[in-house]
């Protein structure tokens, strides 16, 4: 076999493996995106449309409608607002507290640090189901609405309780995320700042915080998605229908007699939209934070 022949076989072999690779990747993409595409198509179909066509097919002529989106948005709008009121402060606060805790546990040194850190790490692994009963008992004991005679508090008691709960349960994972980032910060730089006369609080404010932007993006996206998508705490802690968050409202789009798949699918997309927006807003910083680029 000549050298040229050998080269040709190599190229041919390479080509075949390349083709196979792309075929497999494409199949995986289709497999992964099929449910999303099916949902999206179904959301644009009339009831007749989704009954008579396969889920992933385009809506047939005359069976295309936007009414499901309109209805879904109407029925979820209050839930969207409540979710935003609950999730935004919970996300920001849990990230901020997590960052502060991580700073204290990573860049400052004091006695008993490891013990406290272990508690934080253990907190990450607490299953939500295990705390549901004590949590409801706790909030009925606290009775925010009864203790604080303000209409604002009484009207939104469920949301406030839920928000505070999410802050508390978000702090451990936020702390762990921030800690891994803060461990990479040059100790000598912080020592230089101490010699420059900065207090621990000043070092946090003027050095740690400005350097934390990428990891804040990671944590904010992660926490926002977690809190926004939570259903369990929302069902258990919020009883007042006017405080209903979007996940609970979405769950109620499921009709009891007739399955309105188009409405459910449109609703699912409406409910998921804010998490998508957050990802787009912080995406660039997120990539930096994940890549560990500071």
């Amino acid at each position: 076999m000549s050298a040229a022949d050998r080269l040709q076989t190599t190229i041919a072999g390479l080509d075949r493996s390349r083709v196979a690779l792309y075929a497999v990747l494409l199949a995986l993409v289709a497999f992964y995106l099929a449910p999303l595409e099916s949902g999206f198509m179904t959301a644009f179909k009339t009831p007749d449309g989704f009954r008579t066509t396969t889920p992933f097919a385009l809506p047939p002529l005359g069976e295309f409608t936007l009414s499901a989106w309109g209805t879904a948005f109407d029925r979820l709008s209050n839930g969207l607002l409540n979710s935003a009121l609950m999730a935004v402060p919970a996300t920001v606060l849990s990230a901020l507290f997590g960052s502060l805790a991580a700073y204290g546990l990573t860049n400052l040194s004091w006695r008993g640090q490891i013990g406290v850190l272990v508690l934080f790490v253990a907190g990450v692994f607490i299953p939500y189901q295990a705390v549901l009963v004590p949590l409801t008992q706790f909030w009925s004991f606290v009775d925010l609405g009864g203790r604080i005679p303000l209409a604002l508090v009484a009207d939104n008691e469920g949301l406030i309780n839920l928000s505070i709960t999410h802050v508390a349960y978000g702090i451990p994972i936020c702390t762990v995320l921030f800690r891994s980032y803060y461990a990479t910060i040059d100790d000598e730089m912080l020592e230089a700042a101490r010699l420059d006369g900065a207090s621990a609080a000043t070092i946090y404010r003027r050095i740690i915080l400005p350097l934390s932007v990428p990891i804040f993006a990671v944590t904010l996206i992660y926490q926002f998605t977690q809190i926004w998508n939570d259903l369990l705490f929302a069902i258990v802690l919020v009883s007042n229908p006017s405080n209903q968050v979007v996940t609970v409202a979405l769950n109620q789009l499921q009709g009891s007699f007739v399955q309105q798949f188009n409405l459910q699918m449109a609703g699912a997309f409406v409910a998921a939209l804010p998490t998508l927006v957050v990802y787009v807003l912080f995406g660039e910083q997120f990539a930096k934070g994940v890549a560990g680029d500071s």
């Binding site: 000598e188 730089m189 101490r194 010699l195 420059d196 006369g197 000043t202 003027r206 050095i207």
Partner: protein, 384 residues
């Protein structure tokens, strides 16, 4: 500007049986405006000592005084000390100007104009004015080094602490910065403690050097004193490049013996070593004289202090040749000779060890029993 005193300073890491003694009872008195170099091999406790002075490390025992005031309980911010770190430790998100201003903003009540004035002045001194608006990421290693220095200088502290500030620079820049730092310290006249593992930096930069080993202070002396009058074998071996030659010997009737190697001593040296059974003979490479061998010159290894040897390796450095020798009677020696002399490896030579240049150390304690003879006046003059 201040006098800095370390009084029996001790640092122990950990408690109980597992504790490690990092710095053991170190006494140094650093005069106002003095440049003291703290030198030793890695792990000898020199950085720990510096960090204790800075307040970044607690002091287990002893006292550190700055201008007579006890510093032990003061935090790093209250000591009015500035430190330059090996990694430069610049704040990456701030511009050079902000980096230099940070310390002024946090530790002084100066107005904005005064701070900017101080920064501009220091930047000019260090020739970094055009870098003031850049961030550290956009600077070269040498430029970062200057900014780190500037950040310390701008605060006009009582003392500078420098922790191996030049070790991240390439060789050429390092020797240039070495000179510049010395000049700068002389101009500012600020008490400075400089930590390094590099004996060249120690020799060339310091008014005095303090040599540490395993947490213990070995000697505090001017560089030339440490070179010519080492307190013990460790200092003798650490200072000087290539290192001093050592031959472990026994003493027999005022003669140093190591197998077939016999080195008779004169009265003065003989007396100094009379009480020690085991000693170490030390001789600096430049004090050995290497001459053509008997075969070539027709002479003979005459005299008690001349020995037959074979050249094993020659390292030409340009200005000098480093010659590795194997003595016929056993010991291996390193000598330096003029760079213009041609010496081939494998040739036989005669090596003379002049008695007025030898050092003798106690075999057990390593303490110097005898140091080379020198005109004392000459040594003192050398500091001028």
């Amino acid at each position: 500007m201040a006098r800095l005193e370390l009084d029996s300073v001790t640092k122990r890491f950990g408690e109980g049986d597992g504790s490690v003694l990092a710095v053991d009872d170190v006494d140094v008195d650093i005069a106002d405006g003095e440049f003291l170099v703290l030198v030793g091999p890695s792990g000898c406790g020199k950085s720990t000592t510096l960090r204790m002075v800075a307040g970044l490390e607690s002091i287990t025992d002893g006292e550190i005084r700055l201008d007579g005031d006890r510093m032990n309980e003061q935090g790093p911010a209250e000591r009015d000390i500035a430190m330059v770190f090996q990694s430069y430790a610049l704040y990456p998100h701030m511009t050079v100007r902000q980096n230099m201003r940070f310390g002024l903003e946090e530790s002084t009540d100066l107005s904005d104009e005064e701070m900017d004035g101080r920064v501009d002045e220091t930047a000019e001194l260090l020739d970094i004015t055009e870098l003031l608006d850049r961030k550290p990421g956009a600077l070269s290693g040498g430029q970062r080094q200057r900014v780190a220095l500037g950040r310390a200088i701008v605060r006009e502290p009582k003392a500078f602490l420098m922790d191996e500030p030049l070790s991240n620079l390439d060789a050429k820049l390092r020797s240039q910065m070495r000179t510049e730092l010395q000049q700068l310290q002389a101009d500012l006249d600020t008490t400075t403690v400089y930590v390094t593992h590099d004996q060249t930096e120690a020799m060339t930069m310091g008014d005095r050097i303090a040599i540490l080993d395993a947490g213990e202070l070995q000697q505090v002396a001017t560089p030339l004193e440490a070179y010519h009058r080492p307190a013990n074998q460790f200092v003798a071996g650490f200072i000087g490049e290539p290192s001093m030659n050592f031959i472990d010997c026994a003493t027999e009737d005022a003669t140093l013996v190591d197998g077939g190697f016999r080195y008779p001593l004169g009265d003065e040296v003989g007396e100094a070593v009379a009480d020690a059974a085991d000693v170490t003979l030390g001789i600096r490479p430049e004090d050995l004289s290497v001459d053509a061998s008997a075969d070539a010159s027709g002479g003979d290894a005459a005299g008690d202090h001349a020995f037959d040897a074979t050249v094993t390796v020659v390292e030409p450095m340009g200005d000098e040749n480093v010659v590795h020798l194997s003595l016929a009677d056993g010991p291996e020696l390193v000598a330096t000779v003029n760079g213009l002399r041609r010496i081939e490896s494998g040739t036989d030579v005669i090596v003379s060890i002049p008695e007025n240049a030898i050092h003798v150390f106690d075999g057990d304690s390593g303490d110097a029993l005898h140091n080379r003879s020198l005109d004392d006046a000459e040594l003192d003059d050398a500091r001028v």
